[in-house]
């Protein structure tokens, strides 16, 4: 009698299975990578995708994704992705950016790519600080949050207020899809994956700009244990950065 064994888990073909990432223990950058790779695989577009890595902890994303990639200068990923997409309109083009990259030095590039309705997908990792340069204030750092450049906590009188990127871009006419998800527990990870899938679907249907903001952990620079870092997302980040779909193309549920 022959027995057919059905695998219960298979790693995605969108990531190299032979490499261990450089991310810290408990960092959810890796989870975000996997979600993007799984979605691209499930949509059957890995072979015709071009990704753009940005400057931040995910700068080496091109070492993990099994798709053609370009590495962009700090903040410029949406401009680079625009150049690629205009030349290759039938390819799937995505940019993967952190909050310093996208919302500080690259604010002009992201706003204008969104305003143009550029038919690209942006995965935006909001971890409320600059991870790679060891935990300085980001445009998303909460009021009162301690970072190496706000050692007493972010004081709005001196350092202003955090930016809600998804809401800000939602004021524009260009975007087709904008959502904010979180990576702090399984249910939310699955929800985030649904958002990512809809974002890429919007691109495949030629509807225009799509962005998924993901609340992500940085235990190393938050000075927290991995599990505490997930609690920090739930207790502190989610209340300030409400989850959900802000913009959906007509007819999409």
């Amino acid at each position: 009698m022959s027995v057919t064994l059905r695998p219960v888990f298979e790693p995605t073909r969108g990531l190299r299975s032979d490499r261990v990432t450089h991310y810290c223990p408990g960092c959810t950058h890796g989870v975000a990578h996997r979600l993007v790779a799984e979605v691209l695989e499930e949509l059957g577009v890995l072979e015709r995708t071009v990704g753009v890595a940005s400057v931040g902890c995910s700068v080496l994303a091109y070492n993990y994704f099994l798709v053609d990639m370009q590495e962009a200068a700090h903040g410029r990923a949406p401009a680079v992705a625009t150049g690629i997409k205009r030349v290759l309109p039938d390819r799937v083009v995505f940019a993967y950016q952190g909050d310093g990259d996208l919302a500080a030095i690259g604010m002009a590039e992201i706003v204008h790519a969104a305003a143009r309705g550029e038919n690209i997908t942006v995965i935006f990792i909001n971890n409320a600080n600059y991870g790679m340069t060891s935990g300085q204030m980001a445009p998303t750092t909460l009021v009162g949050q301690r970072t190496t450049t706000t050692p007493l906590g972010r004081d709005p009188a001196q350092a202003g207020y955090p930016i809600r990127v998804a809401e800000l871009l939602d004021t524009l006419d260009g975007p087709a899809y904008i959502a904010r998800g979180s990576l702090h527990d399984t249910a939310h990870v699955l929800q985030a994956k649904r958002y990512i899938r809809k974002a890429f679907q919007a691109q495949l249907e030629g509807r225009g700009f799509s962005l998924v903001e993901l609340l992500s952990s940085c235990p190393t620079n938050w000075g927290l244990e991995p599990v505490e870092a997930l609690d920090f997302i739930r207790e502190r980040l989610v209340p300030h950065y409400p989850l959900g779909e802000l913009r959906k193309p007509e007819g999409v549920r």
Partner: protein, 364 residues
């Protein structure tokens, strides 16, 4: 033979680019290059291309980066303040070895400067400009015709070496109307293949990567060695210059771009009216600089005069080339003030007087 048309240099460069197979243009308005941008806006879409007005020169050059990395012939054009903003992107393009053509129609600086012609971006253009050890291939036309010819060829040169080619122009030639014979349109099928481009992995087992990050020092050193080897090859194969009356010249004037035309008018007058044997050496590739050819020419002369619409930038390369073999003098004006032919004549006369044998060997 192609047709001859009365065109501004800016328009001639734009049309030549399209005929060279450039179908993508990303740019930001700035005087005095806007006619080039506007020509692309009018013509590219109808010829199967894309024109996109970027939100800044920073974005424009990064769009160029993306498009070049995707394998396209792509171009941007700007003027001095915008060229400064492009330095980051150009450095990344050097590191990632991406081919593209960039036009800088130079205007007077520093700062917001002025709108009038100048040659004060020579250092920035030829010495790297952004961070890191890299070079752009820099070509300097002196007429709308030459601008069209150089832009047309620049795309092939850029692809051959996977290097940015910069056309360093000035607004005299960019805005002057002259008859231009345009080159024939390239058949897109004849353009070189780019197997390294990121176009989607397709059947390839290994993804392609466009990148300038090398975290291991040895790897970055290896990249730099590869770049330097490429630059030496470019020096050997792409050095260009033109000469006028340099055979048996007693004095040499070195000038490029529109300044060379003014210098030539001055030289012509001095040869005719005073019988002075002055020749013109005109670098066309500012990098690689035609050092060896210039040294050879300068060797038999009594002196060299460099003329620029700057306070003296190329003159440093002239001095390095001549290596003290003969005196090197400088004459220049900048800020948008263009030297008159009469002033150029005076400057040459001054150099001649200072380098006559009786001056060089004072009576003892």
């Amino acid at each position: 033979m192609g047709e001859r048309e009365l065109m501004k240099g800016n328009e001639a460069m734009a049309e030549a680019a399209i005929r060279a197979g450039c179908r993508y243009f990303f740019g930001y308005p700035i005087t005095p290059q806007s006619e080039l941008l506007e020509y692309m806006a009018r013509h590219l879409a109808g010829r199967g291309g894309v024109f996109l007005q970027a939100e800044s020169e920073v974005s424009a050059i990064n769009m160029v980066y993306g498009a070049a990395g995707a394998g396209a012939r792509v171009m941007t054009a700007t003027s001095s303040p915008g060229f400064s903003l492009m330095q980051e992107g150009l450095s990344y393009m050097a590191g990632a070895e991406l081919p593209a053509v960039v036009v800088n129609v130079v205007r007077g600086g520093p700062g917001l400067g002025g709108l009038q012609p100048a040659q004060s971006d020579y250092f920035q253009a030829t010495k790297g400009g952004g961070h890191g050890d890299y070079r752009l291939i820099v070509l300097a036309p002196s007429s709308p015709q030459e601008a069209a010819d150089l832009v047309y060829e620049a795309f092939d040169v850029a692809d051959r070496y996977r290097n940015v080619v910069l056309i360093l122009a000035d607004s005299i030639l960019a805005q002057a109307m002259e008859p231009v014979e345009l080159p024939p349109a390239r058949d897109p099928a004849s353009l070189p293949a780019k197997p390294w481009a990121t176009v989607g992995r397709g059947e390839r087992a290994e993804p392609n990567l466009v990148n300038s990050l090398y975290l291991a020092a040895e790897d970055l050193w290896a990249l730099n060695q590869r770049l330097q080897a490429k630059y030496r090859r470019i020096e050997a194969e792409e050095t260009r210059w033109a000469e006028e009356w340099t055979e048996e010249a007693d004095w040499l004037v070195v000038a490029y771009g529109s300044m060379a035309r003014i210098a030539l008018a001055a030289i012509r007058q001095l040869r005719r009216e005073e019988g002075l044997r002055v020749g013109l050496f005109r670098p066309i590739s500012l990098w690689p600089f035609p050092s060896r050819a210039l040294a050879r020419r300068a060797a038999g002369t009594r002196g060299v005069l460099t003329m620029e619409m700057s306070t003296g930038q190329m003159v440093e390369d002239v001095r390095l080339a001549v290596e003290g073999a003969v005196p090197v003098r400088f004459f220049g004006k900048t800020g948008g003030v263009v030297p008159e032919v009469e002033e150029a004549v005076e400057a040459i006369r001054r150099m001649v007087a200072e380098t006559e044998p009786r001056h060089a060997h004072p009576v003892r």
